[in-house]
Amino acid sequence: MKKRKTTIEILKYVSLPVFIIILWEFAAVKGWITPYTLPAPSKIFRTLITSIENLSLFKNILASVIRVFTGFLLAAFAAIFIGIFISLSKNFEIVTRFVLQVLKPIPPIAWIPIAIVWFGIGEPSKIFIIFMGAFFPIFVNVVDGIKQIDKRFVEVSKVFEIPNLKFIRKVVIPGALPSIMSGLRVGLGTAWICVVAAEMIAATNGIGYMLMDGRQLSQPDVVILAMLVVGVIGKLMDDVLGIIERKIVYW
């Protein structure tokens, strides 16, 4: 009985994507859409095979993914560290409040001109953009996660005269972990969006570069392929984080 249920669920899951592809191919074959406005799935598929065969796809994906993880990990460490500090020290929070609140609404993409001036058009400027994109979602969730830790747990810790470091390790961090994990998922998402945008400005490899290159060479199939790859990889990254989240927040 259970197996049948899962098969039906799988069928439901793939039904819409498959339907869209069939409709799309049909429209292309019928001439309702032109190869320039929207290439057929079959064409895109062929482009995909080519880019796999000449390894360009893997190289581009790898370049983008490395950039994302570098920027993301830096942002995660900074956001968690600063977030904990701010939550535990009232003075530090008040002193930094204005600067952080003003920086927060600035879209990561707006940092691109400054990044290029400061860091040139190489890797560091792209990592910087990704960092700026991932930092605030993670940071906001760290602070919020700590703030919503039940005061009742704090009382218990006072009764047991728990030293500060032990309190942070055993109560604050696990208590805030669900919030932190969801902040990390959002942060990774924005990091991925930022890498593509940063590459579209100035890069020689990566998915964003592949997209811009396709546009410059009037290859809409490459452009759409790049978009799909961005979407699929973004989804896979989120899936992986979801699995990690379930392991870490085991309660």
Partner: protein, 255 residues
Amino acid sequence: MSGKLEINNLNKYFGDKSRKLGVLNDINLEIHEGEFVTILGKSGCGKSTLLRIIAGLETNYEGTVLLDGELIKKPSLDKGIVFQDHRLFPWLTVEENIGYGVPDKQKNKNDLVQDFIELVGLKNFEKSLPSQLSGGMAQRTAIARALVNKPKVLLLDEPFGALDAMTRINMQEEILKIWKREKTTIVLVTHDIEEAVYLGDRAVVLSSRPGKIKEICNVDISRPRDRVSDQFVLKKRKIYYDFFDEVEVPFTYAI
């Protein structure tokens, strides 16, 4: 001398004195070493506030509260407390929760924790998470956690309030068993008249708003007590009528 509590001229208000929303009024009470005292009152009568003051969790009041002659100013390991909600950390197992309050440098920490796990009857559940425990089991874990550091006084704030009637009776037996073994001074707050009389050497009855000591009932019935014996019922009845005399008398039917 270990575990003697003295409460002198305790008064507590919410808001400023001019508005005088009295919470506790003129509480004077002495609790002896090793005594089991129950504090009985309706919801909102200030009994939980009184317990929190003894625990050192509330410090805004007039009067003095002394543990073994020293002023109580803040929470400490000396004053173990069990709340109505178990407050176990969801990410720690039973043994980790119990061991939470034990200083890491304590020798034989594992044996100590294991001893208390067995004392509260949770052997085989050492590695369970709180989400896997029933209400009674979680409270027993909380009690073990409060006791493991051998506090001078154990404070319980309606610890069995969230449990069903049968579990509650079981837990009452458990706490008596623990008391017999550990001989700690115990102060237990409850709204259940039977619980107050069954457990306490003395039952302190608080009136409501503001909380004042209405009477201190000396429950001089030998243990183990019989809940349906004449002596027991007599004590209960006396308190019952004390209680309900300050409320509108429930209508009686004249037949």
